[in-house]
């Protein structure tokens, strides 16, 4: 048997084939994401869920008689699914655009991403409730069973079909966008929507159709994927982050660029599986890092400007709710009494997550950058603290410090990479970089894969305070939280914090006054990572475990949700948000998988109806009330003066 570099051609070509198939899916998906992004300026995070809907749609059609017994419905097979499901998923997309997405066009881009994150959580959560983690089998259609032996490898017909059909769809999409009248509208509206409207074209309707089309592509990819991968609620979650990385690598330059990048990355992934299997899950993210370093605009992209901050803060600086000198003592007292009112362990969980949210608020609220990868800092610090405490016998405080140092370093590197790109890309890049850390943790031996690092000793603080005692542990955590809270407050009010504020409110102006704003953003990002690390390490010690969940993107989403619910940029918002989210997770824990649905719904509702969050809304309300009181008082004195005359 012939071998190539010691590798059998069967393996090589087999993996290349799998890579090519993955590449076809990447291409179809990133095409949809890129078209939606170009036209609607929405980072469509729900794209993965829509892909999953496609797969489930096919499965439903097949099982119509079982799902609706007594109606005499036929079982509709693959070919029906191929025709019907993309249209159905596209219609669902149109509906989603109409009901939800349309409402955020005029808002900061961040809200579009948050909204679609929420929608993805709801949809995937619902399917998780219904079907759990187990995948459903979907058989290859009869006509495409079997395969052909090419001599050097066996080529299953279905895989050949997926490649041919997928490529055809990509090329057809390219043709529609680049060569037809409809595509000309699309390209023109991407460049200058107002002028296109002034020509009499109904751009809002075009936006809906574009979204429906992109989503329909995801649905189609889902149908085609059903017989290859198992049909499972999780199938979209993992692919969407990869797709975002593909989009970052390719850039937004051209449709053909998106197709080429998708295919190429699939193949590279396949080849990596042959030569260095451990790296195959991370290779795309590593390529993303390289592209960001050497070609920040992406392989086919054009823009290179760095991320501009967006003012998302809802704080009113004059409100007494923003006065840290007042609230630090109040929080200290409340914190000291708390373990007598609620379970101390629950209290510690709230404190850890409140600190995490405060850290996140530093970059999202104070600077206005939508970071979406804080799980990387929280989780890596948790792992390092757990590992150094458990395996190296580090004393507790040193273990926590080690975790923080690692989180800070990772934060500095990620920040340096991500700040090169604009707006929504910043979110995509931080998300993808965090996923890199997640995949690393799955593979690395010291992290113990799915098990995580368990039975971490809590140890003795300063060598003599026994942290296995719950109350001791609680007050230690409280002290950490208060120090973190005070430090973050100080940063916000420091000379540095003033510059951050100016960057958030008007970055071009800050630059014109001589501030190299990227450096300020990088330092803020690094500090934010450091405090997120402090929270993660503390959490690992308290709960005596570091697990993959700490690194998963849902943890990043938690930080976002807490900040959003509480009030972005406010002093107390992250704490309130942490209380709400942690309580919600506890209360709904009995409902199991429903937690994700509830959290997703909270995201959506916050974006649509409570953008200022609890604290921001409260501050607004108080300000308006005192304003109207003032006016009323002025009016009264005015009347009195008139009466005197």
């Amino acid at each position: 048997m012939m071998t190539l570099l010691g590798i059998s051609p069967q393996l090589l070509f087999g993996q290349l084939l799998i890579g090519l198939i993955n590449g076809v899916f990447y291409a179809m998906m990133s095409l949809g994401v890129a078209i939606i992004f170009g036209m609607l300026r929405i980072g469509n995070f729900v794209h993965g869920a829509q892909y999953m809907l496609g797969a489930f749609g096919a499965w439903y059609l097949l099982h119509l008689p079982d799902l609706f017994p007594g109606f005499g419905l036929p079982s509709l097979g693959y070919w029906w699914a191929l025709a019907l499901v993309p249209v159905a998923v596209g219609l669902i997309g149109a509906l989603m655009e109409r009901v939800f997405i349309r409402r955020v066009y005029e808002l900061e881009h961040a809200y579009g991403l948050l909204l679609t994150v929420g929608l993805a959580m709801v949809i995937e959560g619902l399917f998780n409730v219904g079907y759990g983690a187990a995948g459903q089998r979907y058989d290859i259609p009869a006509a495409l069973r079997g395969g052909v032996n090419l001599g050097f490898m066996f080529l299953p017909y279905y895989r050949l079909w997926v490649i041919v059909a997928g490529l055809f769809v990509c090329v057809a999409t390219w043709y529609i966008v680049e060569r037809t009248k409809l595509g000309a509208y699309l390209r023109a509206a991407t460049e200058n929507p107002n002028l296109v409207r002034a020509f009499g074209i109904n751009v809002p309707r075009m936006l809906m159709l574009t979204y429906a089309f992109g989503v329909g592509l995801a649905g189609l990819a889902g149908v085609m994927a059903a017989p290859i991968y198992q049909v499972s609620p999780q199938m979209g979650q993992s692919i969407i982050i990869t797709i975002f990385a593909v989009v970052v690598i390719g850039g937004m330059g051209s449709i053909s660029g998106a197709i080429f990048t998708g295919l190429m990355l699939g193949m590279i992934e396949g080849l990596t599986k042959v030569f260095w299997p451990q790296a195959s899950t991370t290779v795309i993210f590593v390529i993303m890092v390289l592209v960001l370093v050497f070609r920040p605009a992406g392989l086919f992209g054009k823009e290179t400007a760095s991320a501009h901050a967006a003012d998302m803060s809802t704080a009113r600086p004059n409100s007494f709710l923003e006065n840290g000198r007042l609230w630090l003592p109040i929080l200290s007292v409340v914190g000291m009494v708390l373990p007598f009112l609620i379970y101390p362990v629950f209290g510690m969980k709230i404190l850890c997550f409140a600190l995490f949210a405060c850290a996140y608020n530093l970059i999202f609220g104070y600077v206005g950058l939508l970071a979406f990868g804080h799980a990387a800092f929280f989780g890596s610090s948790a792992y390092v603290a757990a590992f150094t405490a458990a395996s190296w016998g580090f004393p507790t405080e040193l273990a926590i410090l080690s975790g923080m140092v690692v989180a800070t370093l990772i934060g500095a590197v990620f920040g340096w990479l991500a700040i090169r790109r604009q707006g929504l890309y910043f979110a995509m890049i931080t998300l993808a970089l965090a996923q890199l850390v997640y995949f690393y943790a799955i593979q690395a031996p010291w992290t113990h894969g799915e098990d995580g690092i368990q039975s971490v000793p809590r140890g003795y603080l300063f060598g003599f305070i026994d942290l296995d005692d719950t109350m001791n542990m609680y007050y230690f955590v409280l002290a950490i939280f208060l120090i973190g809270f005070a430090a973050i407050y100080r940063i916000g009010r420091s000379p540095f914090g003033q510059i951050l504020k100016s960057i958030r409110e008007n970055e071009p102006r800050a630059i014109s006054l001589g501030y190299s704003t990227d450096r300020f953003k990088l330092l803020a990002f690094t500090l934010s990572a450091m405090f997120a690390g402090l929270a993660g390490a503390t959490k690992a010690i308290v709960f005596q475990i570091a697990s993959l969940a700490d690194l998963y993107f849902t943890t990043s989403a938690d930080a976002l949700l807490m900040t959003l619910i509480g009030g972005v940029g406010t002093l107390l918002g992250p704490i309130v948000g942490a209380i709400v989210v942690v309580t919600m997770q506890k209360e709904f824990a009995t409902l199991g998988a429903w937690v994700v649905v509830v959290q997703g719904a909270a995201f959506v509702l916050c974006v649509l109806f409570l953008r200022k969050g609890v604290i921001g809304t409260l501050e607004d309300w108080m300000a308006t009330r005192s304003e109207s009181k003032r006016i009323a008082a002025g009016y009264a004195t005015g009347l009195a003066a008139k009466a005197v005359e």
Binding site: D311, S313, P317, R490, I491, R493, S494, P495, F496, G497, Q498, I499, K501, S502, E505, N506, P508, R509, A510, I511, S512, L513, G514, Y515, S516, T517, R519, F520, L523, L527
Partner: protein, 252 residues
Amino acid sequence: MTIAADNIIEVRGLTKRFHGFAAISNVDLDVRRQSIHALIGPNGAGKTTFFNLITKVHQPSGGSIRFNGEDITNEDPARVARRGIVRSFQISAIFPRMTVAENVRIALQRPKGTSFHFWRSESSLSVLEDRVDELLAAVGLEHMRDQTAAGLPYGRKRALEFATTLAVEPELLLLDEPTSGLGTEDVERIAALIRSVSANRTILMVEHNLSIVARLADKITVLARGKILAEGTYAEVSTDPRVIEAYIGGEE
């Protein structure tokens, strides 16, 4: 042969192309130290582009820019600002949710060298308050110092932007249409302000209000179609037939 010391800025062969279209082509321009120099011209002449090139918001496609004799063609915008070239914007550039005093203080903060000091208290900046008050008094905003900037009337915002710009002690002040969108009273206020700050400073301004230009400018450069059409005093420029043609249209 030019004497570098006399010119604060010397632009040679400056060119900027967008999609192959030359917005600025081969412009030579000298600005004399401590003068008020106005840049005028019909719409689309390239005035704002020229500003963006000097402040490095855009990278030139060709040519060179020297400031105080040093080549700044390839520097980044923040660096150029630190050298002392500071601009105002067409749309009032303020920090809307900060107070009037904080707006000015941001600009004063940089020379202190503590801008990266995240561990210090804000009160470490209180030494700047006197200077803040001076600057606010100079633009007539002293009684509004603790108001939120967003709440100011438009004319006052422009005044605040002016105070913030002055706070950086720019050697070269670039004003992009300082009077646009203002009522008559505000226009007069700004004009007086420009006059008063021009001592010991160089001002390069783009302006549409020609009565302001006529009153303030020592020298006027007329741009048209990305090229310099004429240069001189107001009297020279306003009677130049090429300028009249550019503004009113040529004979066939």
